[in-house]
């Protein structure tokens, strides 16, 4: 009896397995114009498409990036703002009024035209609801004097706010929403190349927006965002062609493509100009001493760190100003344009410490003028995506040892580390900063004054570097119109502080991984055709989706 049931069970499983296998094959064959994207591994999706609630967009797999569009596109590959829904803009009234020319002929995916009215409405919505003001815009009001012109008023000079990242929402649908902050927007209507079709916790299906303003785009009919719980599972799905484009947080790309190099393509690139900095605590001895911070920076060989700890996948910091030479070269003051880090110079680091009154002890480690051994503690998280940092810390230890500085590493959970960083409870830590296109934003995050005392949370100036001069310069910068001599002076001043005082130690840029099925689709960005960054979770996703073609079409 029992044996018979058991056999029947096995038989059922086999039959199911066989029928299931047929099904999958059938679907894959028919889906030539359906590209499947895995942007994040953040578990099952929820039906949440409110584009003004930036914080929870990855809970719907970042699918909103193909549905909604910003006023200007942050082109992260070229590091420039591209006119998008807005064709041009002008400042007046000392930076308190921004006049936008809204692109004509753009339609929402329900067929209604998008006008300056919608743009002004969106800014007004943000002004009225603090919970939507994720960009911290000092808004005073917004109006649409004509169908193609929107005028935005600010309470203070707003030259440096990132207003262009705002994604307009349709007034004719949103004006009936009672609480836009708690609105999940389950049926999104946007201006992007794809429009919402259906939702399940495992897959969000988008179809081509018939009203899309860039004529002839996009080519593929359907985009599907698939949910994953882990990098491992995402990679396995790519290997068996269950998904076409993935962005695992970090992985050994060569191992993934092994045996399938003709079918799987990849590009590891700087997905934004966010830089990983080593942060010395400026509210603590001896990391508040400029000679110590400078010695640390001089002792580092950033190329070695990248090659040994990061598999050579990241780009290293080159300019001691902390700015990206490629995209921000024009903001670097003339006297620093030729300045490069180059190889490590432990001898110079030791010399500088000796000149500042530090003496080398018997074990080769320096002793501070106050008689303290120059032994520092680096606090980092261990969990993904920060696993690489532990390897980085080992190289740092070896390199700093040569300059007579001892480095110990302590690790903690991501949550605890984040908390300690915000509270200033660390001697040295690492953190990525400045992933936006605004140079002001980068310097503001580094230098913002006054500092938050240790024990009080902050989202800026984690290193607690105190400088009244930096505060004045930032203020000048914020109030100077773009390209004005005032801006140039403020920039040069802040760069001087960074080069001479080294409040933060630039290490390397963050890297993003994009991997895809080259046997199913063509048009992926690559080293030879770097028209966009390669990751599936950036605001530039629509640039890639518009270029994709089914193989053989």
């Amino acid at each position: 009896m029992r044996t018979r049931t058991w056999i029947a069970g096995v038989a059922t499983l086999t039959v199911l397995a066989a029928t299931g296998a047929c099904n999958t094959a059938g679907v894959a064959g028919a889906a030539g114009d359906r590209v499947k994207v895995a942007a994040v591994s953040a578990g099952p999706f929820t039906r949440q498409f409110n584009p003004l609630l930036i914080g929870s967009q990855n809970s719907s797999g970042n699918a909103g990036q193909a549905i909604y569009e910003p006023l200007m596109m942050d082109d992260l590959a070229k590091q420039v703002n591209r006119p998008w829904l807005v064709t041009s803009f002008a400042w007046s009234d000392g930076g308190r009024t921004l006049t936008l020319k809204v692109r004509q002929g753009v339609k929402w995916s329900d067929g209604k035209p998008m006008t300056a009215e919608d743009v002004a409405y969106t800014f007004d919505l943000i002004r009225q609801n603090k919970g939507l003001n994720t960009g911290g815009l000092p808004l005073a009001g917004a109006s649409a004097p004509s169908p193609d012109t929107a005028a935005i008023q600010f309470t203070e000079p707003a030259y440096q706010v990132m207003w262009w990242r705002t994604t307009p929402v349709p007034k004719h649908l949103w004006s009936s929403v009672s609480d836009p902050v708690k609105y999940a927007n389950p049926n999104p209507v946007g201006t992007g190349p794809y429009a919402f079709k259906s939702f399940t916790p495992q897959a969000i299906t988008l179809q081509k927006n018939p009203y899309y303003w860039q004529s002839g785009m996009p080519s593929l009919k359907t985009v599907q965002y698939i949910s994953f719980d882990s990098n491992t599972s995402m990679i396995a799905a790519l290997q068996s062609a269950e998904v076409d484009w993935i962005s695992p947080s970090t992985t050994d790309v060569k191992a993934v493509t092994r045996g399938q190099t003709s079918k799987i393509g990849y590009w590891v690139t700087k997905s934004s100009n966010a830089m990983i900095f080593l942060l010395p605590n400026g509210a603590m001895y001896p990391t508040n001493q400029a000679p110590v911070r400078k010695a640390i920076s001089q002792a580092l060989d950033r190329t070695e760190i990248n090659n040994v700890a990061l598999g050579g996948q990241n780009e290293v910091a080159e300019s001691p100003t902390g700015l990206d030479l490629g995209s921000r070269g024009d903001t670097i003051a003339p006297q620093y344009r030729g300045l490069r880090y180059g190889a490590a110079d432990p001898a110079a680091a030791r010399q500088a410490l000796t000149a500042a009154g530090y003496t080398q002890g018997k074990d080769g480690i320096f002793v501070t003028p106050q008689g303290k051994r120059l032994s520092l503690t680096l606090n980092i998280p261990t969990t993904s995506p920060y696993g690489d940092w532990v390897r980085v810390s080992r190289i740092l230890t070896t390199q700093l040892r040569k300059a007579g500085i001892a480095l110990n590493t302590t690790t903690e959970s991501q949550v605890a580390w984040r908390n300690d960083t915000e509270l200033g409870r660390f001697q040295l830590t690492m953190r990525s900063t400045g992933g936006t296109l605004s140079t002001f934003d980068l310097f503001d995050r580094i230098f913002a004054q006054p500092i938050s005392p240790v024990g009080t949370k902050t989202q800026r100036n984690y290193e607690r570097y105190t400088s009244a001069e930096a505060g004045t310069l930032l203020n000048t910068y914020a109030n100077a119109s773009p390209g004005s001599p005032g801006e140039q002076k403020a920039l040069a001043g802040l760069e001087t502080i960074q080069v001479n005082e080294v409040p933060v130690v630039p290490l390397f840029f963050t890297a993003g991984v994009g991997m895809w099925r080259t046997d199913r689709f063509t048009g992926w960005p690559s080293q030879n055709d770097p028209y966009s960054v390669s990751v599936a979770n950036s605001p530039n996703v629509e640039l890639v989706l518009m270029r994709l073609r089914a193989k053989g079409h």
Partner: protein, 325 residues
């Protein structure tokens, strides 16, 4: 009956303690949900976003811990769990409703199969002690020592990516919408085979070994000897005399395991990207999502308590000795 009443009282007190701990625990953890969101964006979100998030999450009003506790208790009675921070502004109840059924179906079924099959194999192995069956035991011990997810990774690499017999990930075919149609159910069963086998292999050995050892102990009892001496059929001695006594610890263990099913099996879910609640719980902890965390812990607590109550009732039926006191 007195015993049963006493047990019920005990459960009521335990439930209250658990509810209170659920309330306090997330609030004692370091960090806060806002910096969790900001951190997720790797420096792309403006620092001002934290003020916006505070306003959206309703953190700008400062209620005392006691008044928060009173509101929390009231909300629980109304089944109100609020909005999840991780999946803002999705209500916690719908986050759980999307994931819990998958976990119950997958883990519930495979836990029952593993327990029943494992216990049965244990009974047989115990009865036939000293025969060739004993040589299977080291294999059981070996299987028990290996973590579930390791088998999962092997299955994905070999059976899914390598041979292509099974799907690599997910709970169903992405081109189907969840419904009770034959096509969807078939796809769901097909997708659940590898994760289910992973869970079963991972836990069957423990059941078998425990049950075998209990059997061996029980078989040494005098009443088993008497039953054999009376000339009862060996099947009757094995099932009614030995197994009925030896099974009691297994029933208790099974109840607890069944209760814990609702908290999910994170690693198996991660390996197969199976849409269960284990991953949601992980995200909730990771993002300091108090409302979601509280709700999942509450559901788990009640599932464990209910399972224990059922185990008590089962003892009541199985073991006449409990009825005397």
């Amino acid at each position: 009956m007195r015993l049963l009443l006493r047990r019920l009282m005990f459960y009521a007190v335990t439930a209250w303690v658990a509810i209170t701990i659920n309330f306090l625990l997330p609030r004692l953890m370091p960090g806060d949900p806002i910096s969790a969101v900001v951190d997720r964006f790797n420096g792309q979100l403006s620092p001002e976003a934290s003020q916006a998030l505070a306003a959206a999450f309703g953190f700008d009003s400062h209620a005392s811990l006691w008044s928060q506790y009173v509101t929390y208790l009231g909300d629980i009675f109304h089944g109100e769990f609020g909005l999840s921070f991780t999946y803002f502004p999705t209500p916690v109840s719908s986050v759980i409703a999307n994931s819990l059924p998958w976990t119950i179906a997958l883990l519930g079924v495979s836990t029952v199969i593993a327990s029943v099959l494992g216990t049965f194999l244990g009974v047989v192995a115990g009865w036939r002690r000293g025969t060739w069956l004993d040589s299977v035991l080291p294999i059981g011990a070996f299987l028990r020592g290996i973590p579930h997810f390791w088998f999962g990774l092997i299955f994905v690499t070999v059976a899914a990516v390598g041979l292509g017999w099974f799907p690599v990930s997910g709970g169903y075919d992405s081109s189907l919408a969840p419904s009770l149609t034959p096509a969807f159910l078939e796809s769901a069963v097909y997708h659940s085979i590898l994760p289910a086998i992973t869970v079963i292999i991972g836990s069957i050995a423990a059941h078998m070994l425990t049950q075998r050892n209990m059997m061996v102990t029980t078989l040494a009892e005098d009443y088993v000897l008497v039953a054999e001496a009376k000339g009862l059929s060996s099947r009757r001695v094995m099932i009614d005399y030995a197994a009925r006594n030896a099974i009691l610890p297994a029933v208790a263990g099974f109840a607890i395991e069944l209760g814990l099913v609702v908290s999910g099996s994170l690693l198996v879910e991660k390996v197969f990207s199976y849409p269960g609640i284990g991953y949601v719980l992980f995200e909730a902890v990771h993002n300091e999502d108090f409302p979601l965390l509280q709700a999942i812990l509450l559901v788990t607590t009640f599932a464990v308590l209910t399972a224990n109550l059922l185990a008590d009732l089962a003892f009541f039926v199985l073991d006449p000795r409990t009825r005397d006191t």
